[in-house]
């Protein structure tokens, strides 16, 4: 179906245009004002090439900072007024949702790839239980769309799925599928779902492996989609929750306190030209299938090949086809989890960096809406800003050194009167203060918003604690900013020099970094900090003082990274009421369910009696796995290869097999049965049996 010829009047184009004009004018005027001050300083004695470079870098960076600042400021204003009257959740219902002839059913899909099976299962159970409590669960089915390659993880997922069906009465409603080939990664996984079962559903709610969504929110999302048939995709803002390391608790706190302001601000000007963040979103399946089967980009990785960050591009294609994409910033109970250490956060950034930079190749798509191009540009800029900032600091240092070497000339030529050197302290201080204000004012606005909504203060630990938390959060984010800047600069440079960074799964659970790991990850940062500090202190002492926040972050990167990964310290801070969030102080039902499920979901370790490796001898697990395997005819050669692998496993142990070979053994029902029989009949030696799936 296409609605290209239709147009729905709410909200009107005029109002949306007015909003965008206001927002972009504020951004551009602020940038222009800051630039005017700086240009005024530089042009007095003519602009040198170095100064011109500085101006260009500052211009790009201040534009970026201003973009973010005005999103927060506008969001503050929207929240202060009690929300956005034009938000999608407040629009009057329209008829026509059933026009495409699809059945009013929703598939909640969770693509997984080598994730912690117990966390996946606990999360899905919580979502399903929460959905049951709404009394409207009959219209939903749940799909675990596994792309898992790790053999043991695969078996675990299956067992957890079956146990979930058993315990939550989910047979025939909760489904599991493991793809034979994980072509095109997550987007291919979703496409496979559409092409096999999409016809049975009108909507698909896409989750990430660490997503948690309340049942009431899922129901509300469907209701909004039913009421707004012109909307193809509705994105909810996921709030990070669930972990306890210092690092992640600081980020959870800041997201909780400032996040809603930013999403409200984003929605203010994006409106029906919103974006897709890849998960915690509901999608109308018919238009998605019609417009979002992404082709490969020409060339090879990192810029060519499959599109890594498919979400932005899918949103752009839906908008291009005339559909609306909205950010439902005011829908709650949408959660996700963050990496728990600085290093894991950087690893995730590495993947996202490649995905976003790859969008350079999509920017020139014919027919793409300007706001979609802007969204892609903003994604690119969120990573490019790091090397730009690094370059800016270097150029500023050189310029400061040049200035320090300039000897004032008071008398020249026939001039009898001394020419006093001009002071630009006022202008430079203003530029600096404007920049700092735009960086830190959103935090104060977030605090103010909390004070206005006084009833929420207690859930953040009370006024004193929230003030202290904001102060400490500012200190902490200031310290880690230069480290992330160096990491991201490295990723950008690697990708621009056409080195693919891969797409490895991240460590999602709590994990305490050891000194050696922290040192290995950050010694370069520390060295850079020490060298830059020594150089600036020796050659430009005044500049050294300005640089101290950046230097401190680099020099202290090892202890900061190590101690911030501590869960115990995070728990102590929580007991003290620091970095407390409403989700911690009074968790919603779905998060309480998650915690209960995490405490009780260890089927695998229970079954395997602590020795997961011996699971291939477990008749129940093998039966389940056999029942889920697709029946594929094998060639004679493949039969022989599998038999050889079985004997190799028996004689040399599983370590002699690659992951692909283990997967091949587990993918053939006959080979699996043979291996199982050998294991239980003692033909596989105890040593070999114990590591047969490890």
């Amino acid at each position: 179906m296409s609605i290209d010829s239709h147009h729905f009047a709410i909200p009107s184009r005029g109002r949306v245009l007015l909003r965008r004009t206001i927002y972009f004018s504020l951004v551009l005027l602020t940038t222009a004002a800051a630039m005017a001050l700086l240009v005024g300083v530089f042009q007095k004695n003519g602009v040198t090439p170095l100064e011109l470079t500085l101006l260009i870098l500052y211009g790009l960076l201040i534009l970026w900072v201003s973009t973010s600042f005005w999103i927060a400021a506008v969001g503050f204003w929207v929240q202060l007024r009690g929300g956005d009257p034009l938000s999608i959740t407040r629009q009057p219902p329209k008829p026509g949702a059933a026009a495409d002839g699809s059945p009013l059913r929703t598939a909640v899909v969770m693509p997984v790839y080598n994730e912690d099976p117990e966390r996946v299962s606990a999360g899905l159970r919580s979502i399903w239980q929460s959905l049951q409590e709404t009394g409207k669960a009959d219209a939903f089915d749940l799909f675990i769309l596994s792309d898992t390659r790790d053999p043991q993880c695969w078996l675990q997922e299956e067992l957890n799925w079956y146990q979930m069906c058993e315990e939550l009465n989910g047979h025939g409603r909760i489904f599991y599928r493991n793809r034979v080939h994980n072509t095109a990664r997550k987007s291919g996984n979703i496409a496979d779902f559409c092409e096999r079962w999409g016809g049975s559903y009108r909507y698909m709610i896409v989750l990430d492996a660490d997503s948690i969504m309340g049942g009431a929110t899922l129901v509300k999302m469907v209701e909004v989609m039913e009421a707004q048939p012109q909307v193809a995709l509705l994105q909810t803002p996921p709030v990070p929750v669930g972990h306890e390391s210092v690092f992640v608790r600081v980020l959870q706190f800041s997201s909780s306190l400032y996040g809603s302001m930013f999403t409200a601000g984003l929605n203010f000007w994006q409106m029906y030209d919103g974006n897709y963040w890849g998960h915690n979103a509901i999608i109308r399946l018919r238009p998605f299938a019609a417009h979002c089967h992404l082709p490969k980009l020409a060339g090879s990785e990192p810029f060519g090949g499959e599109i890594f960050s498919h979400d932005f591009v899918e949103a752009a294609l839906l908008l291009q086809a005339g559909w609306e994409v909205w950010l439902a910033y005011d829908l709650g109970e949408s959660y996700e989890e963050l990496p728990t250490t600085l290093i894991d956060y950087a690893k995730r950034d590495r993947r996202w960096c490649q995905g976003n930079l790859q969008h350079m190749g999509v920017l020139g798509l014919k027919g793409m809406k300007p706001l979609s191009r802007l969204a892609l540009l903003m994604g690119i800029m969120s990573y490019l800003s790091s090397p730009l900032w690094g370059l800016f600091l270097i150029v500023t240092g050189i310029e400061a050194y040049n200035q320090s070497q300039t000897i004032p000339v008071y008398f020249s030529g026939d001039n009898w009167y001394p020419v006093w050197p001009e002071s630009y302290t006022v202008e430079m201080t203003t530029v600096l203060l404007v920049t700092l204000a735009m960086l830190f004012l959103p935090k104060i606005l977030g605090m103010l918003l909390l004070l206005v909504q006084w009833h929420r203060v207690k859930s953040y630990g009370g006024l004193m604690r929230v003030c202290l938390s904001v102060f400490l959060e500012t200190l902490f984010t200031t310290l880690i900013a230069p480290v992330l800047m160096l990491y991201q600069s490295k990723f950008v440079l690697a990708i621009l020099s056409r080195r693919s960074v891969g797409w490895p799964p991240q460590q999602r659970g709590d994990y305490r970094l050891h000194f050696k790991e922290a040192l290995a990850a950050h010694y370069v940062h520390t060295l850079i900090g020490v060298v830059a500090g020594a150089l600036s202190y020796h050659y430009v002492p005044d500049f050294f003082l300005w640089l101290t926040p950046v230097l401190a972050g680099l020099v202290l990167s090892v202890p900061v990274s190590m101690y911030s990964s501590s869960t115990r310290l995070g728990q102590v801070l929580r007991r003290w009421g620091l970095f407390l969030t409403p989700e911690e102080s009074n968790p919603p039902k779905v998060l309480r369910l998650l915690q209960d499920n995490l405490d009780n979901v260890a089927f695998w370790s229970r079954r395997a009696d602590g020795r997961a490796e011996s699971i291939v001898a477990d008749a129940a697990v093998v039966s389940l796995h056999q029942s889920l395997l697709p029946r594929r005819p094998l060639r004679k050669r493949q039969h022989h290869q599998l038999r050889a692998l079985t004997y190799q496993l028996m004689e040399d142990g599983s370590d002699s097999l690659t992951v692909q070979e283990k997967r091949a053994v587990l993918s053939d029902p006959d080979t699996l049965l043979r291996l199982h029989t050998l294991a239980v009949s003692g033909a596989v030696t105890a040593t070999n049996r114990h590591d047969s799936t490890s």
Binding site: G172, P295, A620, L628, G682
Partner: protein, 156 residues
């Protein structure tokens, strides 16, 4: 060792050991699956003697005895399950589904009757049917229309 396995004349010590190990393997296997001792002891001699016939008498073949005995008991269970649930015994995924329900949720199911061919109450069969794993629903494709990217610098 059971009487059924006693040889007509003195067995070599190695063969006796293989037979004993085969019995142990089948016993442990069935115990792990939750079958009762009486049912196990009843079926054990049949499985091992059948396996012994299949492998012959050579010392090399005797090493296959355990595997053959386990395979025999697997076949017995699968055949019984297929007959009970009216499945095609050659339809491995369907039989595996039934075996999964039996082993992962068959706490109240009279498993021992499967080995002894005793009648199983209809309610138990019906209950087992509700626990069969259903991994995916019937397919109902929604084809994804392949997209082609055209760029502003391409005139075509």
């Amino acid at each position: 060792m059971s009487d059924a396995l006693s040889p007509d004349d003195a067995q070599p010590a190695a063969e006796a050991r293989f037979l004993r190990e085969a019995e142990d393997a089948v016993r442990t296997y069935l115990q792990d699956m939750g079958f009762g001792a009486a049912a196990i002891e009843a079926v054990l001699p049949q499985c091992v003697s059948k396996a012994r016939k299949r492998v012959g008498r050579s010392p090399f073949a005797m090493e296959e005895l355990q595997r053959r005995a386990v395979e025999d008991v697997q076949r017995r269970i699968d055949r019984a399950m297929a007959q009970l649930l009216e499945l095609d015994p050659d339809d491995l995924p369907s039989v595996a589904r039934a075996r999964t329900a039996l082993l992962l949720d068959g706490a109240d199911f009279p498993k021992d009757h499967l080995l002894s061919s005793q009648p199983i109450p209809t309610e138990a069969v019906r209950a087992l049917n509700t626990h069969l794993p259903t991994a995916t629903p019937p397919e109902n494709p929604l084809p994804m229309a392949p997209q082609t990217f055209r760029f502003i610098w391409n005139n075509a």
